[in-house]
């Protein structure tokens, strides 16, 4: 598992490094996957509402109403339809990338299982939405989706009568079914929105909107894609004459061909197994954790800064419990605390200048206390040599870096844990010439907000401020993920050089923000060209896989024979008429003229084509008491041409012989769907 995780992480690290350089970290789409999911959801919702206005439910109206908005108002309805399709396809891509990336970054274990599990459910919702959506169009793809989904669902032993029987032939199809689909297609996204909201419940300041420029680019790209490769219907569905092949949207129905090859039950087991394994991942293996953040009430006056900064909503402000003169205190919810220590960086009493009393802040990580952090930096600072002595705070999730006599590394759970007065101490007391905060890749902080809060505290835009008189030329940041080792080494070299060069000059800082390496940025034309390539490639991928390649459903000279019935076998025992004496013995409210057992005989059916048995099976009655109808829906691919069909059925307790049978001389056309159905009364019919 760890090897797989490392592999996924390495792939993402490379991709992210590339995209960081092309898009700049702030606009790196891989850092915005969750937010992009939300954005795509809104795009789908808006275009869906527009389409709904024009959609008619009905066997033929469904197809014609969609054709009409696609063709007659291609400039509005057509674009909306393409938006609806491509944004939905994009949502699948974004959701899976999001999931894979969180897996690679190991952001699913421990306290973070919640978003992982709710995210898995969301993927289920995406599929329910997508499949019902394609169903509603009632073109060839819809027909394929309808038949395959029905066959898949019918493999579950919960339906008294196969859903597939709704799609026997054109004559049996009801417009009511489209009303049901519309209902599911509206209810599922609404439920999904509820789950999306639950998905982000344990995050403070959850990012649900990508940067505005990214939204503009995405919308522009979707419009371009909609015009260049509009989403169109395939030929109208026709259950009586089946098509040879169908073009699939591989984002949604990639697994559907498997129902044909491995069978519906195997596919169910596969999906269930995949879900169980995925759902178990947060505990494979369980995360070993240090103790959660701890509040020291003696040093807490209830200022609420840790409460404001906790990325995981693990801190609440509650009425004072210790009788002190303050009205509130911080309380840590241990079940939500991920041990990042960002709360410590926010605490105003976390200052290393306290020496008269012990250095105990209002909130602290028991396994990583500030008193030893101060000792560590003082010791390390003493041993540094050279003209550019750098103390580096490094988080375990960012790029590794080599030490040298001029560089000392202090490991912290997250750079957001370092309180600004510690930077003040190092720089103003010259424990080192400069301090470097080395965190995760800029497009994604492992602890979510460590980078943002650190930058803002240094720039004096978020409490606690790094005070003005700490020269920012000596406070550097390096945001580099595990795939950006070279970049980090480069930043360190640049910073050291800048410290030596700047040692002579003193005076007020030129900037209020931290020092950062800006030399290695790609020139703008290169970045824009790269961005163009990425957007075009994404568009091509969506456009292509949304309807190519097609799958072959049957040979050009094949026909289909459908054998189906929903028929109750005879009762196993005849009802017995109660005698008047027996009736008299019963309670008045229990009196009935006859006594019936409910169990029925199973229905046995055989089908022979040209003397060969193609089907023979017993079908047990439905219902917990074996009292329901037996039912069957089965399709056989047969060569077109003349065939002699013989079908027989037994629905009583007899050992041999049949209760009904019929023979027909068939002349099957290629693609024809011949339905052999048994009904009582009437017997077998061939249509």
């Amino acid at each position: 598992m760890n090897g797989l995780k490392r592999g996924v992480r390495a792939v993402f690290a490379r991709l992210e490094n590339l995209l960081d350089r092309l898009c700049t970290p702030a606009f790196n789409p891989l850092g915005q996957l969750g937010a992009l999911g939300w954005f795509l959801f809104w795009l789908i919702a808006i275009s869906g509402i527009y389409l709904y206005i024009f959609f008619d439910t009905g066997v033929t109206q469904a197809y014609t109403s969609i054709e009409s908005i696609t063709q007659d108002q291609w400039w509005a309805g057509g674009i909306m339809r393409s938006f609806h399709r491509y944004a939905s396809d994009g949502l699948v891509v974004v959701a899976f990338l999001h999931m894979l990336r969180e897996f690679g970054l190991d952001r699913l274990r421990g306290r973070r299982w919640f978003a992982w599990i709710t995210g898995l459910l969301l993927i289920g919702f995406i599929y329910v939405c997508g499949i019902t959506g394609y169903w509603m169009v009632w073109d060839q793809l819809a027909q394929y989706v309808a038949l395959t989904t029905s066959a898949w669902l019918d493999a579950l032993p919960i339906f008294a009568e196969p859903i597939s029987r709704n799609f026997l032939n054109n004559a049996s199809l009801s417009g009511r079914f489209f009303t049901l689909m519309v209902y599911v297609h509206i209810a599922a996204p609404l439920l999904m929105l509820l789950f999306m909201w639950i998905h982000i419940q344990r995050y403070n300041y959850a990012r649900v909107n990508p940067p505005r420029r990214m939204m503009v680019v995405a919308v522009a790209a979707f419009v371009a894609l909609s015009l260049l490769d509009p989403a169109l219907s395939q030929a109208p569905a026709n259950l009586d004459a089946l098509a040879v092949s169908v073009r699939l949207d591989w984002f949604y129905v990639a697994l559907y061909p498997l129902t044909e090859t491995v069978g519906a039950p195997a596919l169910w087991w596969g999906v269930i197994l995949a879900f169980v394994v995925l759902a178990a991942l947060p505990w494979l293996p369980p995360q070993r954790e240090s103790p959660p953040a701890e509040v020291h009430l003696d040093n807490c006056n209830g200022c609420g800064r840790c409460f404001a900064d906790c990325p995981f909503g693990a801190i609440t402000m509650q009425p004072r419990s210790d009788g002190a003169a303050f009205s509130e205190e911080a309380v840590v919810e241990a079940d939500l605390c991920v041990r990042c220590g960002i709360c410590v960086g926010a605490c105003p009493t976390a200052t290393p200048f306290r020496r008269a009393t012990a250095l105990i802040p209002g909130i602290e990580m028991p396994a990583f206390n500030l008193a030893s952090l101060r000792n560590q930096i003082e010791t390390l600072g003493r041993d540094l040599t050279g003209d550019a002595r750098v103390l580096m705070f490094r988080c375990p999730n960012g790029a590794a870096v080599a030490t040298s006599p001029g560089v000392a590394i202090v490991e912290v759970p997250c750079v957001g844990m370092v309180p600004p007065p510690f930077l003040d101490l190092i720089v103003r007391r010259r424990l080192a010439d400069g301090v470097l905060l080395a965190g995760c890749g800029e497009s994604e902080c492992y602890e979510r907000l460590g980078i943002d809060w650190t930058e803002q505290r240094i720039a004096a835009r978020r409490d606690p401020y790094l005070r003005d008189n700490v020269p920012r030329e000596r406070v550097a940041v390096s945001w580099a993920g595990s795939g950006q080792v070279a970049m980090r080494a480069n930043t360190l070299a640049q910073f050291s050089a800048a410290l030596i060069a700047g040692a002579a000059k003193s005076g007020p800082s030129a900037s209020s923000a931290a020092w950062r390496d800006t030399a290695s940025r790609l020139p703008r034309p290169v970045r824009y060209a790269g961005l163009g390539v990425i957007v075009a490639a994404s568009g091509l991928l969506l456009g292509f896989l949304s309807d190519t390649p097609a799958v072959q459903l049957r040979g050009a000279d094949e026909a289909v024979v459908t054998l189906s019935f929903s028929h109750a076998g005879e009762l196993k025992e005849k009802c017995r008429v109660l005698t008047p004496e027996e009736m008299a013995r019963l309670e008045p409210n229990m009196r009935r003229p006859s006594d019936c057992t409910r169990a029925r005989w199973p229905v046995y059916v055989e089908l022979e084509l040209d003397g060969h048995t193609v089907y023979a099976a017993r079908h047990a009655p439905a219902g917990l008491w074996d009292d329901g109808p037996s039912s069957l829906f089965a399709r056989f691919r047969v060569p077109a041409g003349a065939q002699r069909a013989e079908v027989r059925l037994r629905d009583t307790g007899r050992e041999s012989g049949f209760d009904a049978s019929s023979t027909a001389e068939l002349d099957l056309q290629p693609g024809q769907n011949l339905v052999i159905e048994f009904r009582q009364p009437g017997g077998f019919s061939f249509r």
């Binding site: 040093n299 006056n301 209830g302 200022c303 609420g304 800064r305 002190a324 003169a325 303050f326 009205s327 105003p348 009493t349 200052t351 200048f353 306290r354 020496r355 008269a356 009393t357 209002g362 007065p421 003040d424 103003r428 007391r429 004096a460 409490d463 606690p464 401020y465 005070r467 003005d468 008189n469």
Partner: protein, 131 residues
């Protein structure tokens, strides 16, 4: 030697804030007293100041929270003065710590002015508005 005395008009009526003001004045007086003792070590003074710095940082943080909750109209300028004060006391601490040119009288004047200035102006207004 000058001491800072608690005066009733300092009271904001907000229990948390008043409590911390009293505590701070006590710590300041301790520092002031220490600074004029014969044979005072700058290290000891720096330690006292470090304590005051920690406490006043926390105190400002609490005051700012209360201001935000009560939507105090001059929050921005009051907050700015807090940051200036924190910057100043850190500079005072650095001067004391360096030990060079440490003149007790100057120190007393600077520290008293540092505290009372803010109290007379910004805090007084806050107390008026909130009280």
């Amino acid at each position: 030697m000058s001491r800072i005395e608690w005066r009733p008009e300092f009271a904001t009526g907000i229990a948390d804030v008043d409590h911390e003001h009293r505590e701070l004045i006590e710590w300041l007086n301790r520092a002031l007293a220490a600074s004029v003792e014969p044979g005072v070590q700058s290290v000891d003074l720096a330690e006292l100041l470090g304590e005051i710095f920690a406490r006043i940082s926390a105190h400002f943080a609490l005051e700012e929270r209360i201001m935000k909750v009560r939507q105090y109209d001059e929050f921005a300028s009051h907050k700015q003065d807090h940051e200036r004060l924190l910057d100043d006391i850190r500079d005072i601490m650095d001067t004391v710590e360096s030990g060079t040119a440490f003149v007790p009288d100057q120190f007393v004047g600077r520290l008293t002015e540092w505290f009372s200035g803010h109290f007379r102006t910004h805090d007084a207004r806050f107390h008026r508005v909130m009280g």
